[in-house]
Point group: D2
Chain length 340, copies 4
């Protein structure tokens, strides 16, 4: 993602200038020498050094999740605007620490990049919902399902990912907060999962399929499915069900406008990876973040919401592992009993 | 088709009683001994003998096209109602002779079975069009495309079929007369074709792909595609384009509600044969024909329209073979020049 | 449904003869006088009287759910085969009592009619799954969603329905037992719901939207959504996710093959009611039940599975109302703690 | 289109620099003052003056069709690479004159921009065809159908457009040459049309619906539909039918991934204008043209093909107006009789 962000800011964000890039990884730096340096981009092995680069006004953080928060805070302390890949951290507390610093720097633009907020289809759905086309949105179903990676890479990855709900469903949770309102108060969460293809995930307290249920105090319901074993490709689908209609996003996945008719039937191909599906959302994100920094206009999503998403994702992951349903009061404190 | 009609009238047409069946073909009679005779159906090798069967009130003709007209006429002369498979004949003159006899027997119900007229989707489209949902229907595209039969059976079949426009597109032509009105007057026809898989079709003056263009004197246009080489299955698709909207029938063919997601993409299967797609239309046809006979109510389509369809199909076939565009005046006479 | 079953057995089940019908409801009897009596069907106001009708070999029970079990048992005691509408009862114990009687009458065919088992699309999906096309089925999502009935009829109905999971999701639970195996052992259930359109449902301990999560001891997961407020029509959708592929049934609902293009976009209509979608499944059910009775062949689904479905549905309903997650051991006994 | 090209070269073509823009239209120049001048783009009212601008290496011509050829030739004479909007001219002779000049300047990159050649879906289809997935491509159907513009603007526009086949179907013709091969030799063309919404088109020898049939000497067939009265939006659809399969592009038009379920059914919106559908194709075109100029690599489509497309479009338009079928020998000369 770092490479993609770099190229997007270099080539597809007219109002931004890419002045520097850093990575502790030598292979990545080698790539940058070929793809970025010829266009005047200064390269650094050390993030801290890069922060001292003259003319640097904003940083885009796409490093390992474990250093997201630290780098975001350092960026703010160096008076840079910050666009940080999701999640801020797999830890609620560390995520909150980013907010705390940001709160003291209201002149800086600090955003956690939930790419679906910038996707044309999700935006269209949200506008239609806002315009009342489905009445009161009451139930939301959303899934983030990755194509099976037969190398089993995701087992090693699970050690640091925070678990499937924090890593994958975080997008669906963010969408829920967008469609139901950032102030929606969780009443309960419950989750189950299995390891249909990779039993080794259990040693990292993770699963390859998980279903989670979130109930809000106002009665709304969201339910999520995350999987790492889709055969056809990436399947990120959402439906928002209201009292007078329903909106779906990507209920019929397709990579493009081609259909193939052959002796197996009628077929279309679908995106293989997250980026296949959301490429233009990332470009829009880069451009809108740039505009907000340059024009000092509001960001399209606020940082608190990103922490709230981590909070819900972590609770779902805990429920997944303990097998227990968890209850929360209106203040967000955990309680032992269901609120009826 | 004879077997299917027999079973439909035996089992799926509550108001009809199947009393007799005939076929000159011994294998078919053998089949009938197992499937029809046990339910009291009398069997005949000879159609003329069957006509004398006591209690017989109506005949369904699904024999070789070459004897359709003769059997229909004999049926009428024996005072039976007649449901005859399309086409009445590949010859316009012979088709007309059926009408001439029928005209003298107005108390008999005589229908040429264009199954799509009984299909729920086509009926829905026609009702929506009649209700004004697309404004004035102005252009119609329709295709009848069979799955490739690798045995090449259709080459031998072409000898008697009347050609691809009379055999396949006749349905599309009939739909045109239904949607544009039975009194639509042809102004010109032109057609081209090729033999992409079976060059031997040329010796029977036929093609395996053909495209035809029909222009009406009121300005409406219909264009047709017929093929015998579809890889995925039967693809019979129609669109009716009006000044305020468009209706399509079967623009997304599917045999059922199943989708298969695997490493080739997202796939659905489609009907393999005509009967897979139109099974229930044939059942409806049997029931409605029965009701018209018993209740002496009007038939849903008139016989003249069936002859008109053969007339247009034959003209298209001639244009296909000669390569010439053909022109007609308002009286239906062929002329040498275009009417502008 | 009684009327539909009667007509299906009268007109669309060639091997069955409809000899009698009963209803305590005078309006229904009036209808039967017009539609059934003319074809020789004897009418009764009293079910018990009908059981004495000479020649009666099998009964189809489509009465109020509260008398299903009683009538089924009486039928068996009168030595009749029994086809009973789902559910046998909203009570697990009463459902079990039907099984107990049936166990003593192994010569009788006794079936609880889960119509989706007879639907061509579900059957196709099941055969593809059995043939290995999706690897090991691991997660199942299924929903039964009714079109909103603005009369609010379903509020009064909820008093006797057993609740939304027993009334609607029972189909999805039955499908789960079909696709995952009838011997699948439930490990936990949890459910949430809301009353988005009809708060009055709460007085009958019901909801108009509900999501349920079922975990099996072998690790498989099923999750269900039931709703009574769909705007477009009936939406009964299922997906079965395996380790090498996925099958969906009705992920793109459509009533027929027509698409309408107008200034609002491209549109298709969908079934408005359950019967619109499953009409032919009911006809198949009638024919297959008849064949099993006449030929003494096995029924396509067994009665125990029907009781098991009620058991799971009741547990989900209890979880919905109490807000608590419920746990079960391998013997099906409720336990207080999660089994990890 | 001029504005769009200018912005695409300014903002979305990293290797290009927009140095100048010209328009004789004062309103356009006003727009350019706001949108281009601030980024250092020099503005001209006169194309000839602009050609003298220092540093100018290539021109993009998106002026009125009537001056395309003249400006392209002037550009080449000034030693500029040229990207010219389609068509070069509505006249075959004038189009040819551009080729003649280009032939003398082989060091210049001269391309007529057929945007669909740069569309990801068309490219995917073409690659699949090339890879043999459909056997031998034998029949091509393609349509360019615009949303009805109720202002009737297109009547005035018809005066200069060259007619609906040259203006709209030119894209479909170009696709045919791409999929069937640029050296395909036309054997016959025939066309019909009507004026369903705008009878006034007749005074400019044009129609609002037209269907054309093109037969090639090798037996392949292409048929085209063009319309200016689509209710739902832009519908540009293509299918390529081969001996072992079929590829469709845009058989299910959709503007994005959203479906709307409401009491009218299930609906999606579709592109309203050409640019909605092909926006990214234009960006790709800009980038690839730039790369070819800078790297002196071959252009993705050659100029001769563009003239051939005009030639076929003009013949179809003539056939549309005269009502006559036209025949051509292998050398492309018109003949009076059909070649069988």
């Amino acid at each position: 993602m770092g490479k993609r962000h770099a190229l997007n800011f270099l080539e597809r964000t007219p109002r931004a200038e890419l002045v520097a890039a850093s990575s502790p990884d030598l292979a990545e730096l080698e790539w940058a020498k070929t793809h970025l340096a010829p266009f005047g981009v200064k390269l650094y092995q050390n993030y801290d050094d890069m922060l001292k680069q003259e003319g640097l006004e904003a940083v885009v953080i796409a490093s390992a999740t474990s250093v997201h928060a630290e780098q975001a805070i350092k960026g703010m302390e160096a008076e840079k605007h910050v666009l940080c890949e999701k999640p801020l951290s797999t830890s609620v507390e560390i995520s909150q620490s980013v907010i705390d610093v940001a709160a003291k720097k209201p002149h800086l633009k600090v955003m956690c990049g939930f790419s679906r907020r910038f996707d044309a289809s999700y935006r269209d759905a949200e506008q239609k919902m806002k315009a009342g086309s489905i009445g009161v949105p009451s139930v939301l179903r959303s899934q983030t399902c990755d194509k099976l990676d037969p190398t089993g890479f995701f087992v090693a990855y699970a050690q640091f990912s925070g678990g499937i709900f924090v890593d994958c469903s975080i997008h669906d949770i963010d969408l829920t907060l967008w469609f139901f309102g950032a102030d929606s108060k969780v009443k309960s969460v419950s989750a189950v999962g299995n390891t249909a293809v990779e039993p080794d995930l259990r040693k990292h307290n993770d699963r390859d399929n998980a279903v989670g249920l979130v109930e809000f105090h106002d009665g709304r319901i969201a339910y999520f499915y995350a999987s790492r074993m889709m055969a056809a490709g990436q399947e990120d689908t959402t439906e928002i069900i209201g009292t007078r209609g329903k909106l779906t996003v990507n209920s019929q996945p397709a990579i493009n406008h081609v259909h193939i008719y052959d002796d197996t039937g009628v077929r279309r191909e679908i995106p293989q990876h997250y980026y296949d599906r959301f490429e233009y959302a990332f470009v829009t994100e880069a451009n809108e973040f740039t505009a907000a920094c340059l024009d000092n206009t509001p960001l399209p999503l606020d940082l608190e919401s990103a922490v709230k998403a981590v909070r819900i994702g972590s609770a779902l992951q805990e429920s997944l592992i303990t097998g227990k349903k968890m209850f929360f009061d209106l203040q967000g404190n955990r309680t032992e009993v269901a609120h009826l």
